[in-house]
Subunit: 327 residues, 2 copies
Amino acid sequence: MKNTNENVNQKVKLDDVANEAGVSKTTVSRVLNNRGYISEKTRKKVHEAMELLNYHPNEIARSLFINKTFIIGLIFPTTNNPFYGQLIFHLENISEALGYKVLLCNSEGREDKEKSYLEMLQRHQVDGIIAGSHNRGILEYDNPQLPLVGIDRYLSENTPVVSSDNYDGGKKATQLLIDKGCKKIIHINGSPSLETPANLRREAYEDVMKENQCYPQSYVIGENVIETIFNENPNIDGIFASDDLIASSVMKEAKRRNINIPADLKVIGYDGSEITRMLLPELSTIQQPVKEIADLAVQLLLKQINGETESKIEWKLPVKLIESETT
Amino acid sequence: MKNTNENVNQKVKLDDVANEAGVSKTTVSRVLNNRGYISEKTRKKVHEAMELLNYHPNEIARSLFINKTFIIGLIFPTTNNPFYGQLIFHLENISEALGYKVLLCNSEGREDKEKSYLEMLQRHQVDGIIAGSHNRGILEYDNPQLPLVGIDRYLSENTPVVSSDNYDGGKKATQLLIDKGCKKIIHINGSPSLETPANLRREAYEDVMKENQCYPQSYVIGENVIETIFNENPNIDGIFASDDLIASSVMKEAKRRNINIPADLKVIGYDGSEITRMLLPELSTIQQPVKEIADLAVQLLLKQINGETESKIEWKLPVKLIESETT
DNA sequence: GACAACATGTCAACCGGTTGACATGTTTAA
DNA sequence: TTAAACATGTCAACCGGTTGACATGTTGTC
């Protein structure tokens, strides 16, 4: 009953609070969870005791019982990238506002890491996962009965995918280069073996090129690819890179070769994240609505978590063409 | 005893595995934790049962009992920043390699968010926290009996702080500008009210300036500050920005005013993160050893977690001057 | 042949909350 | 006056693992 405080050495638990406040364990729990009848006087007493003892309810114990952790797992290649950095920032932000915490997993695009993260997240009883990484199939195979949302990645037949309107983005980018008078336009993208809606950027590129009687030609990003492109295509006058980092490498190489942008070569990227806009404002790009993507992804995940159904699988959000100095 | 599989609807638990394998709960636990005597035959049986049922041990239950979660909390302003993005990537990476998971908290530099995150992390029974955000005092006040490490931030008297050698970095940067013949050098930094070792960058700047009979003048970053600097100092010929993003804004403004860099104005930044180097390679900067900082921070945290003592409080890692086109 | 080491089982307490059932007493409203 | 609503307590089961104590039986070895 008495305040036997004086630097508690062990963790304070609910029992201790009950003793301090002179009430029962059940009453404290009632105060904590706002259930049943509680008088203001008792509520105050309990809160004071909690304050005095510096009590922090053990979420682990709570989670175990209620069978819910309020944790969401995020699996993405890396935070060390302007687009993902911004996306993850918003995902965390929105989740936090809705009472969820976030376990961060940097898969580095490696299948083995992704697999072990998935396993780890299941052991940790996360309430759901948002992933934007690697191959279809892995998650499908393990078939966790877990709420799941993909960002720019197909995870399985029935998991919702949120992405920007990649086809429209690819169309806008290609069309701009053509409108600016480019004749020999090349597209550079990531590995097309990944099953991602981002491949639509290339599809749109090819369609628009053909519509304009141009021959589409794509390169997959990799070691020395950009040099190769310049070497193999001396008459190149337009490049559509499927992300801004690639575009920046293109610009660097062009500079090295004294190719003037935009006079001799026009370049457009994709993503338009805040950091890229800040550090490389001269680059024209297709901007993804990152915050909206994050918003929708969390919303769809929470729907699943709460058992609501939603039949729409593919969600596309509008992109914005940002024209700058490279076109 | 029999495989009563056929799509398990509820969560598989240890009991189910025991039944499937035809052994006792204790034996399964022994296999799982590698304790006591277990024959190869039994071990195999148990593993097969786990596979068959697609069993994932409930870490929550385990954590509750062993009183350890293997989770580390990370409190940083944002992942949407080249430096923090890279730092957080490495922190997660290293933690993962050592068997720890990471709860991500974007404080946005807000005191209230930081406070509520701290509270949340304690409820979730994290094993420790690495923070690189905001004011001293908050964490100290709450005085959590929690392993704690700061990165570039003093958190309390006795919490270790890891940072780059800020004084040396500031010295190198300023000296470079002076060596290049700058006479009127201005420093731009973040709020000096934050108690962070990063303030040493400015101290070094001031010391070097005085040593060279120059008058040191610092501005705090904020709305329109850069314009103000140019307006108030028409004869300015050198700027040392305390991070690369600020430096990039300086470059942008200089371009707008047709001030030629480096001919009329030399600029040097601080951080040298991968993304900045990639997008803005022409910027001279002081590069922090991000991976080494992350490495050391995790190491120091684990030491605390494991009850080992370490009396050294301030850790400084060497920086590297990267000279490029802006100086 | 005996004793140590190996192999496994049963049982129950425990980690720190949550919850339902039930009891008792006090207010409040009709 | 009396029933409903309010306020709190006790008790025990439960969430899903872990662990120690103790029992029993099998091998291996000197």
